[in-house]
C-alpha cells in the first residue's frame, strides 16, 4: 500500500494511505478514492452512497468554495502544488479549516518539498506526499525550525505578540 506522511497530535509519521488517487481517464477502482473536483461533481453522489470514503483533489486554480456544501461528507481534500512556488493552496487550506471548519484530512500533493513544511503545517495541512524523498524526521525538523512565529494562523500557535503579553 502507498504511504504518506501524516501529522497527528503534533507528530509526523509514515502511514499507510488507504486512498487511491484516480485520474479522470481511469475507471474508478474498489475502495477509498481521491478524485478530481469535476469527477466528484459528476460521480461523487454515487460513490458516497456506496459507503466508501471519498476525497477530492483540488487544483490550485480551483475554488474551495465549490466544495463548501460537500465538505462534511468528504474524508480528504488533496490540495495540489503544480509548482512549489505556487502558493494558492496555502490559502485554500486556511479557508478549509478556518472558514468551512473542515475536519478531515488536508493533504499536500504535487511539488511538495520539505522547505514548505512550516508554511503547510501553519495553514492546516495534516498529510503530505513529498516529492523530494523527505522523511517524517525531515518534516519534524523543518517545522520546528523557528522557535517563534509572528502571526496568528490556522495552527493556533501563539504568535510573538501573545508570548510577549505573558
Amino acid at each position: 500500500m502507498p504511504m504518506r506522511i501524516s501529522l497527528t497530535d503534533g507528530a509526523f509519521s509514515l502511514t499507510e494511505d488507504p486512498f487511491t488517487a484516480v485520474s479522470d481517464d481511469w475507471a474508478i477502482p474498489q475502495g477509498d478514492v481521491i478524485i478530481s473536483l469535476t469527477r466528484f461533481q459528476a460521480e461523487g453522489e454515487g460513490l458516497l452512497s456506496e459507503g466508501r470514503k471519498v476525497g477530492v483533489r483540488l487544483e490550485s486554480h480551483e475554488e474551495v468554495e465549490a466544495l463548501a456544501y460537500d465538505l462534511p461528507r468528504l474524508s480528504v481534500v488533496a490540495l495540489a502544488f503544480p509548482k512549489f512556488g505556487d502558493g494558492r493552496a496555502y490559502t485554500h487550506a486556511r479557508l478549509l479549516r478556518d472558514r468551512f471548519e473542515f475536519k478531515g484530512e488536508v493533504r499536500a500533493v504535487g511539488d511538495v518539498l520539505r522547505e514548505q513544511a512550516g508554511f503547510m503545517v501553519r495553514c492546516g495541512f495534516d498529510a503530505f506526499e513529498p516529492a523530494d524523498g523527505s522523511t517524517p524526521e525531515d518534516w519534524e525538523r523543518a517545522t520546528h525550525r523557528f522557535r517563534h512565529v509572528y502571526q496568528r494562523s490556522t495552527d493556533r500557535r501563539a504568535p510573538a505578540f501573545a508570548e510577549r503579553g505573558e
Partner: protein, 551 residues
Amino acid sequence: MYQYDTIDKDMLADRTAEFRGQVARRLAGELNEDQFKPLRLRNGLYLQLHAYMLRIAVPYGSLNPTQLRKLAWIGRTYDKGYGHFTTRTNLQFHWIKLSDAPDIMDHLAEVDMHAIQTSGNCIRNVSADPYAGATAEEIDDPRVWAEAIRQWSTVHPEFSWLPRKFKIAVTAAPKDRTAAKTHDIGLNLKRARDGALGFEVMVGGGLGRMPYIAPTIRQFLPVTRLFSYLEAILRVYNRHGRRDNIHKARIKVLVAALGRDEFASQVEAEWEKIGTAADLPDTEIARIRGAFTPKAFETLPAVSEALEAARAATPAFARFVRNNLKPHKVAGYGIVEVALKAIGETPGDATSEQMEAVADLAERYGQNDIRVTHEQNLVLPHVKLDDVPAVWAALAEAGLATPNMNLISDIIACPGLDYCALANARAISVAQNIAAKFADPDRAEKVGELKVKISGCINACGHHHVGHIGILGVDKKGEEFYQLTLGGSGAEDASVGQALGPALPYDKVADAVDTLVETYLRERQDGERFLDTFRRTGVAPFKEAVYADAN
C-alpha cells in the same frame, strides 16, 4: 528606534541556521540550482553577472551607528570595500561568495539585521518616510506601523509564495517621500475629524513593464483594522493574481483587470468574512510604539547663531544649508541629508569609510539615528542646528556633502549593465555624464527641483517612469539606446512619464537632458518646477528642441 527582543533575535538565529543548512545542501549537490534559487532569493542572494549579490534589508530605512559600522565591516571583509543603497532602502553587496553568505548572515544577526525576504515572490522590505519622527508634517510615526508590518510579513504562513514580489510603503505626511503610489500597497496615515487615526489604502501601483499609479481602494481604514485588511488584500491577490505570466503577475495587473471598484469590493467582502480575528492587539502596537517614543530634545532657539555665522562666512556651507538641511519639528534642530550622489560617483554607493563617517556623526551629533531614502541618500534626522557646520565639514571631508538634494544631479540609477544580468544598457555612467554636465552648482540650483531617474532595462529598478526626466536603456541590435520620458512623478502628485520621441544613442543622452533643461528655463513661469512647466506646456516644445538638435 525599535530594539529587537529575545523573540526577534531568535527568529534571526533560526533563519540563519536554516539558510546555513540550505547552502550546505546546495554546495554538497543535494539541492540543484532550480531548487536552491527560490530559497536563496528569500535570503537576498542573487546570482549576478560577476558574483553573488547580497541584498540586506534595512526595514523602513532605519539604521543605528552599530549597524552601519557592521555593514562597513562586511563591505571591507567580504566585498570590495563599498556597498550600494537601493531604492527599496536596502543595502546591496555585489561581490559576495556563496560560501561566505551564511557567515555574513550571522554577523548581520549580531546587530539585529538580516536579508530575509529582500527578494523572491513574497512581501519585501517595508519602507517608510525617512523623515519619520523628525518632520512636523507627520500625523503619526509611520515606523510604528512599518515595524508591525515587518513582523507580520516575516515568514508569513499563507503569503510567502505569492504570484510575484510585493512591496508596501507607509507614509504619514502630505508630502510623500516614499513613492507610496508606486507600491503594491501604499498606506497613508490620516486623522479623521474626530481625531481617529486611519489609513488611506492605495493598491496596485508599480513600475516595470507596465507602470501604474495605485488607485485608492479605501479612503479611511481605522488603524486598529490594518492587519485584517492587509490579509484580505493579500488573500484576494494570492488566489486570483496571475501565475501564468511573470510579467502579468503583480497585483497591479489584477487591480487593472478587475477595475478598482471590483477589486475593492472583493477585498471588502473578504475582509468582512475575516472579521477582527486577524488584527493586532492594541497592546502590541503600544509596545512597538514605545520603541519609537520621541527623543529627548533640548530647548533651543529657533535660529542658531553658529549656523548663521558659518552660513555668512562660507558660501559652500550656505549652499549645503539651502539644499540639504530640512526643517525639524523641534526648534533648534534640523534634518540633514547626506548625499550619496557625488558628481562622478555611482548613485547610492558608499564606501566602508563613508559608512563609518556617517555612523560617527550620528553618534556624536545625531542621536544615533540614520535613515536611508528611496532616492538613495542617507539622512541624519536629528541634528542640532548649532552642530550643522561641524557635520557639514565632516561630511565634506568624506565626500558626502554634495549640495544637490532634489537637484538634477541627485539622480536615481539602477546598477545597470555594469552589474546586472538583466540590464540592456548602462545606467550608472549615464548618471555620471548628466551629473558632470550640471557639475556647476549655481546652474544646478538655478534649475531647481528636477528628478532624473535612470533604468538599464524595462524592469525599471531606476524608477524611470516616475522621473521628471526618465531615462530607460534599451538594446537596439547590440547597441545601447535610451528612451526618454518626461513628466513622471513618484510623489503625492504621482504620474507616469510620457515618451519624448525616438530613443537616443548613449553619447547623446546627456546633451539631450541639457537641451530639455534649457527648454524648461526658457519656458518656465514664476516658481514653476520642471515638472510644472512640462505639465503646463506638454511635450511639444521639449520634443522640438531635442530632435531639432539631433537632426
